[in-house]
């Protein structure tokens, strides 16, 4: 095949008018993606975006690639079939917190454990946007919404913990206010062989405005976002004055001055055991505490489609390519003349 042609953002933008509410966080995610694609050295025709239903799920319409806007919750399943059938393609899956964790939760966790070659972007705005404001499985307890006038009573999922509990090989988190960081996460997820999930904190300015303000606003980030960097001690704060230690198996936020830099946890994305990543995911079980972002886990495990292909190859090696004539005669036969 010839070299991948040089493209620009425009090449990756479809001719459809973008239809999110003005100010929606989805715009910045879209821009980040359209700007990133030319750098990935992939072809538009080999790229597919599959989504379910929701505001987030409109994403494929705006990418000048192949795309399917399917039905609510089913995109990981549909994408699984596509990725198995066509390992040559880059398959992206995009959806909201309702789409992926409520109705689609099961397909998501099964895709993750199987390690299907998918790049999954979960736009978490902690609300149902498209249906105009009901609470979602990531909404905080007590949230007053149209369907919970007295406040919700459901413990939310922590999407990162769910993914790690489901044997995910690549798990990351980013947010819609930092294009560079989003692009870095999307690139890493794309490059990962197997299922990669990126949770993107996304502001729904109409039904859940400012949900992440306390952590993602420019002036809050230093103090509130715990940036994970592979091989580096986990530090944050304006002057890196705070850090994360693993104490008796749980992650704790500490003052670096107090514990000394050597006591800090040195982040290792590639740890085969997901326990530490899980412990880190438990930091910030609420919206007001420092929250880890970055790649929590990135390990190698055989990609599903590869296994499928190799079984097919092995079968052809041992049995030869399919011979229909022979197949029809594989049970006892007799001749009538």
């Amino acid at each position: 095949m010839s070299a991948v042609p040089v493209t620009t953002k425009k090449d990756w933008s479809s001719d459809q008018e973008v239809r999110w509410c003005p100010g929606c966080g989805d715009y910045s995610i879209l821009t980040a993606m359209q700007l990133l694609m030319p750098e990935l050295e992939v072809r538009r025709e080999d790229t597919v975006f599959i989504s379910g239903i929701g505001c987030a799920a409109r994403f494929p319409y705006y990418m000048n690639t192949y795309g399917m806007h399917s039905i609510h919750g089913r995109s990981p399943a549909i994408a699984t079939g596509l990725a198995m059938a066509r390992p040559d393609l880059d398959v992206w899956v995009v959806g909201g917190d309702g789409d992926m964790l409520s109705i689609g939760g099961n397909h998501l966790i099964h895709a993750l454990r199987r390690n299907i070659n998918l790049t999954i972007l979960l736009f978490n705005n902690q609300i149902y946007g498209l249906t105009k404001g009901q609470y979602s499985p990531t909404s905080e307890v007590g949230k007053v919404t149209k369907s919970t006038p007295m406040g919700s009573i459901d413990q939310p999922f922590n999407p990162i913990s769910v993914a790690l509990g489901a044997e995910a090989t690549f798990v990351a988190r980013t947010h819609d206010m930092d294009r560079g960081h989003m692009q870095e996460m999307f690139r890493r997820a794309h490059d990962h062989q197997g299922s990669a999930i990126v949770e993107v904190f996304q502001n729904c300015n109409v039904f859940n405005d400012g949900a992440f303000n306390a952590i993602t606003k420019k002036d809050a980030r230093d103090a509130m976002l715990i940036n994970l960097t592979h091989g580096e001690p986990v530090r944050f704060g304006v002057d890196g004055e705070r850090g994360v230690m693993i104490v008796d198996g749980t992650a704790k936020i500490v003052d670096v001055a107090e514990v000394g830099i050597d006591a800090l946890h040195v982040h290792d994305e590639t740890a085969p055991d997901p326990s530490v990543a899980f412990a880190i995911s438990r930091l910030a079980d609420d919206r007001e505490s420092p929250t880890p972002v970055g790649v929590l886990r990135s390990v190698q495990r055989r990609e599903y489609g590869e296994s499928v292909s190799s079984q097919i190859a092995a079968a052809q090696d041992t049995k030869g390519p399919g011979d229909l004539h022979g197949l029809l005669r594989s049970l006892p036969t007799w001749d009538v003349s």
Binding site: G81, L82, L327, L328, L331, P332, D335
Partner: protein, 622 residues
């Protein structure tokens, strides 16, 4: 007990025999029946079989719930059903006798393993007295043999442990029955050696048991009961004995070869469909991909995803699974992508009778989706016909870019019949080409790809990911005709809804006209679909031999109907529709053609017998 009399020594020739092997689930009756069938097939008989499994549960040994049976009908002429009342019942234990004696023809032969008729087993079967000792079996020909002990005896010197030897008692039964009905010994011996290769003791035990059964026939002077059925005059060719699920799996593989596209099966196990998943997963060398999904929704979703990628997406299931797939099928209708949904129907509603047959999912196949979401429906009519039906379903799906429903049922799935292997070169061709070029011009004059432009068949182009320059987006929201862009325009929606119906109805244009079998000048037309084909064919044959004028027609296509169906129905005074449901096709015919079609319904979990149909049709004739 054995009340046979030594009347003659030669073997009587009969046209056909129906034998029912019945015993406990652990007794290996399916295998015994299967072996007897194979030997008869190789011998050249025509035949049809009906395995009957106990329900999904593992019932306690010896109980009625645990009875497993296998009925086989062998004949010297063309037959289409596993027979009405069996002529011979092999009962390996009291429960089997209790469960199945009532099916036997009056005066039929019962072959009994007398060892099993001891107190505990009798009690478990609910017999207060030993039926071998009271008048239960009066009027039947009874052959008893202490099969368990004779088998143990035969194995004594082989070094086989008695408990293991006991397991071979089904081969004793097989040996005995094979002697009685003059089946060749060789195929079974070869099979034993092949099957148990490396397990010499098992081979020895099974062989010994078989021979002991054979010998028992000789020595117990059962000659009077001996019969044989001559080979049938079947059309020349190579035959194999096949069940519906295997034929269906092979049909899918054949279709994949005819179309030149790889097969993708997304499935979730469910009785009686699982065997298609099992069968296809064996044939990865044909490039077949099988995926055991987390549920039925993921199964159909993955198949749709594969279809989107240019594979032939298939999903197999039974009723409860189809009930879960409705929403995704609606998406497939809207996307206009090929997809084949295979429903091996079983007794419903809900979990119902999972191991029994029924054909009550037709209406769900027609209407089990929200909105106007038409899907073609194809049905298989016999085990071997599943092969052709599968090819037809794939053909329609690919050529018209539509999800297709293929209906089979538990009876076809597990029943077998001899199948004359088709010439591979004569298989229907499936023409399908992927889009490779731009086909539209946008408002600014640029050449673009439009996914909803149509060909003469009203099918849209199928551009698969990876095709340069044809990038496009599709989805389940209403789209503009042509461009495929999202459209909320009222007139466009009205147009698209009607178009989606029209394009499916148009499939009928290229279907061959239906042919009436039987008497063209009859008053009665019997309309069939699905697995009733065998019983209807047989019943109509008998009625006509008996002088009743009757015609029949069998539908391969349930939606759309073949083009001449309406005209055909009008030609008869009475239209009757045997169905394993409460009259679903009947309703469709009445609504479509305003004919007073009447259903002959059976919903007992068992297929029609020809005899039942003869009676019911005669009632109409009168």
């Amino acid at each position: 007990m054995t009340d046979t009399v030594d009347r003659a020594d030669e073997v009587r020739e009969v046209e056909r025999i129906i034998i029912r092997f019945a015993g406990d689930s652990g007794d290996g009756m399916q295998l015994t029946g299967d072996r007897f069938t194979s030997a008869s097939a190789l011998f050249g008989n025509d035949l049809a079989t009906l395995p009957e499994f106990p329900a999904e549960i593992r019932a306690p040994a010896g109980t009625l719930a645990g009875v497993s049976a296998f009925q086989v009908h062998i004949s010297d002429h063309d037959i289409t059903t596993p027979g009405d009342a069996p002529n011979v019942l092999v009962a390996m234990n009291p429960a089997a006798l209790k469960a199945d004696l009532h099916t036997l023809e009056s005066g039929g032969t019962v072959i009994i393993n007398s060892d099993a008729f001891e107190e505990r087993n009798l009690a478990k079967a609910g017999y207060e007295h030993n039926p071998l000792e009271d008048n239960t079996l009066d009027g039947y020909t009874v052959i008893t043999a202490p099969m368990t002990s004779l088998t143990k005896e035969a194995c004594k010197d082989l070094g086989v442990k008695p408990r293991d030897a006991e397991r071979s008692k089904n081969f004793f039964a097989l040996g005995l029955v094979s002697w009685l009905y003059s089946r060749p010994e060789e195929p079974t011996m070869l099979w034993i050696q092949e099957k148990f290769k490396g397990r010499d003791l098992v081979i020895a035990a099974n062989e010994a048991a078989y021979r002991a059964g054979n010998a028992f026939g000789e020595t117990a002077e059962l000659s009077a009961s001996r019969m044989t059925v001559r080979p049938a005059q079947l059309p020349a060719g190579t035959y194999t004995n096949i069940n519906g699920n295997t034929a269906l799996s092979w049909g899918l593989i054949a279709a994949s070869q005819q179309a030149g596209l790889p097969l993708f099966l997304g499935s979730y196990p469910i009785t009686p469909a699982s065997d298609i998943l099992h069968e296809l997963s064996k044939h990865k060398n044909f490039g077949v991909r099988t995926f055991q999904a987390e549920d039925e929704i993921a199964a159909v979703g993955s198949a749709l995803g594969a279809s989107y990628g240019g594979h032939i997406g298939i999903t197999t299931t039974s009723g409860p699974g189809v009930a879960l797939k409705g929403e995704t099928l609606g998406l497939a209708v809207s996307l206009e992508l090929p997809l084949v949904v295979i429903d091996i129907q079983r007794g419903g509603p809900s979990t119902g009778l999972p191991t029994k047959t029924e054909a009550a999912d037709l209406m769900m196949a027609m209407y089990g989706r929200h909105g106007e979401a038409p899907m073609p429906i194809v049905a298989a009519s016999s085990p071997a016909d599943c092969f052709d039906a599968a090819i037809e379903a794939v053909r329609i799906a690919l050529e018209y870019r539509t999800p297709v429903m293929l209906l089979s049922d538990g009876y076809l799935a597990n029943g077998t019949e001899p199948w004359k292997l088709p010439d591979i070169d004569s298989l229907p061709s499936i023409d399908i080409e992927f889009a490779s070029e731009l086909n539209g011009v946008d408002s600014e004059g640029r050449e673009v790809y439009w996914p909803y432009v149509r060909n003469d068949d009203l099918a849209r182009p199928w551009a698969i990911p990876g095709t340069e320059a044809l990038m496009h987006r599709i989805g389940g929201i209403e789209k503009q005709d042509g461009t495929g862009n999202i459209s909320y325009d009222p007139a466009n929606h009205e147009f698209m809804v009607r178009l989606r119906e029209e394009r499916i109805l148009k499939i009928a244009d290229k279907l061959p006209p239906l042919e009436v079998m039987g008497d063209d000048d009859a008053d009665i037309l019997v309309v069939g679909w699905g697995s009733t084909w065998g019983a209807i064919t047989s019943a109509v044959g008998r009625l006509r031999s008996g002088g009743t004028k009757v015609a029949s027609v069998h539908l391969r296509h349930l939606y759309p109907f073949a083009p001449n169906l309406g005209e055909l129905l009008q030609r008869f005074d009475h239209v009757v529709v045997p169905e394993m449901n409460l009259g679903q096709l009947t309703k469709l015919l009445r609504a479509e053609f305003l004919v007073d079609a009447k259903a002959i319904s059976k919903v007992s979990g068992q297929p029609f017998t020809a005899a039942e149909l003869v009676t019911k049709i005669q009632e109409v004739a009168r």
